[in-house]
Amino acid sequence: MHPRNVGEIENADGVGEVGNPVCGDMMSFYIKVKDDRLTDVKFKTFGCGAAIAVSSMVSEMAMGKTLDEAMAITNQSVAEQLGGLPKNKLHCSNLGADALHKAIEDYRGKKGQGAKAKGG
């Protein structure tokens, strides 16, 4: 198991956190955005092997994509990229895509606020 992109980003442009340790799965995604593209994606995961594999795969799939392309990454496409997941592990794939999307929404939300502050 060699996950890529493990880590955090200081001063991330967007952060998304889903799941909770009570359930046994928690993922945090950190993104850096430039010109509407993801220039850096990092994650931290508390969870089983499938959860770690999913978050790693999501980070790889998202790297370098435009925000819209990244938002189009679905739980199914993640599971497919991994070559399928056992049925009882599919919920792990839900978390990965959701955490990434949440990070993007966090970024867009902040950006929107920034634009409003500038008097838009």
């Binding site: 198991m1 996950p3 493990v6 955090e8 956190e17 340790p21 009570v22 359930c23 046994g24 799965d25 928690m26 993922m27 945090s28 931290k44 995961t45 508390f46 969870g47 089983c48 092997g49 499938a50 959860a51 770690i52 009882n88 592990k89 919920h91």
Partner: protein, 395 residues
């Protein structure tokens, strides 16, 4: 790569001497013990010899042993059969909160069939207090079931003490001794129980065979109806080879018990101390001293059990866990929950169960690899990151 099997509570390897005695019954001595012709003689005799060997291991009478397919069947047989046989005296059943699912779910089923099931709570070590049992015993309690030792956290229950309290009523007392039989000395008269479950594959015998011991004079309704095998108490053609293996494993367990304890306990303690000193934020689950001789169970904070098992497996180490992801039902262990562990800590469950083949070098290898596994997973963990930040912030 070193291969270290530390999941003996799941199953143990077959002792070569056990395999040896089983073989003839898989080859030329193939007869059905119920057959009246010559082909049935030797299997029948072998069955009865095995019965004696198993009885001897727990200080019981041979005719009190009923062979079953496994411990799950024996537990179902005990809960359902004992309750149904005593139902004219009452409908109340008491089980401990840390029982195996084969006891809990069998009791639940009885609950749906008109019986009332109560649970006895445990303390943070998973220990059942006899006062807690006494408090819950009623006039109409007919069956109490408390396991002898717990496979998840290793705690050994004070069965004799609980038996004293149960005896004050007319209830039948069953104990699931699957994890303890063959590992620690058992004398059913000293334990004071009326029924006891065991399984061969826990002490170097074959899978597919277990037994329910029922004290002479205690009524029990059969689970499996059909022919009159096992004195009419458990129908079905017997797995003679497995039962013969069971008998041999029992004989060896009895002969070698002190030697096995002498071997296991220091290794277990070395592992427990090693984890405590090398891995911060790790806790030992279960009773610190009153635990199974080869059992070392922990909760490692900030990381998850199945991920640990995967990384350990990649290093050749086999272990087990009670986290949600390691259960097909995706539920964290009920045992860890009822001993009061916060759910996120329970997710970091890691259980090592040592056996005869375990060496000191094996334990040292685990003590070398485990911290690396933990470190790697903690680097990935948002919980650990938060904890570290909070600590720094505090300074």
């Amino acid at each position: 790569m070193r291969k270290v099997y530390l999941d003996h509570v799941a199953t143990t390897p077959l002792d070569p001497r056990v395999l040896e005695v089983m073989l003839p019954y898989l080859r030329e001595v193939f007869g059905n013990p119920s057959s009246l012709h010559d082909w049935g003689d030797e299997p029948r005799q072998a069955l009865e010899m095995a019965r004696g060997q198993v009885a001897s291991l727990i200080g019981a009478q041979p005719q009190e042993i009923i062979f079953t397919g496994n411990a799950t069947e024996a537990n179902n047989f005990a809960i359902k059969g004992l309750a149904l046989a005593q139902q004219d005296k009452g409908k109340h059943i008491l089980v401990s909160a840390v029982e195996h699912f084969s006891v809990l779910n069998a009791a639940k089923t009885m609950g749906k069939l008109g019986f009332e099931v109560g649970q006895v709570p445990v303390d943070k070590h998973g220990l059942v207090n006899s006062e807690e049992v006494k408090r819950r015993l009623r006039q109409d309690t007919i069956l109490v079931s408390v396991m002898h030792a717990n496979a998840e956290i290793g705690t050994i229950e004070p069965i004799a003490e609980i038996a004293r309290v149960v005896k004050e009523t007319g209830a039948v007392f069953h104990t699931d001794a699957t994890a303890s039989t063959g590992a620690i000395p058992i004398k059913v008269t000293e334990l004071g129980v009326d029924a006891l479950t065991m399984a061969a594959n826990q002490f170097y015998g074959p899978k597919g065979v277990g037994a329910l011991w029922v004290r002479r004079g205690v009524r029990i309704m059969p689970l499996l109806d059909g022919g009159i095998q096992e004195g009419g108490r458990r129908a079905g053609t017997e797995d003679v080879a497995a039962i013969v293996g069971f008998g041999k494993a029992a004989e060896l367990a009895q002969e070698e018990m002190s030697a096995r304890l002498e071997h296991l306990v220091p290794l277990r303690d070395h592992l427990i101390q090693g984890v405590a000193s090398r891995i911060e934020h790790s806790i030992l689950t279960g009773h610190p001293t009153g635990r199974l001789p080869g059992h070392a169970s922990f909760c490692i904070e900030f990381i998850e059990g199945e991920a640990m098992l995967m990384l350990l497996n990649a290093q050749g180490v086999a272990a087990s866990s009670g986290s949600s992801c390691t259960s097909r039902a995706l539920k964290a262990s009920h045992v860890l929950t009822v001993i009061g562990l916060p759910p996120e800590i329970a997710q970091g469950s890691l259980v090592f169960t040592l056996g005869r083949s375990t060496s000191r070098e094996d334990i040292d290898y685990v003590l070398k690899e485990l911290p690396l596994v933990v470190e790697r997973l903690r680097q990935m963990s948002p919980l650990f990151a938060k904890f570290v930040k909070a600590q720094k912030g505090g300074k």
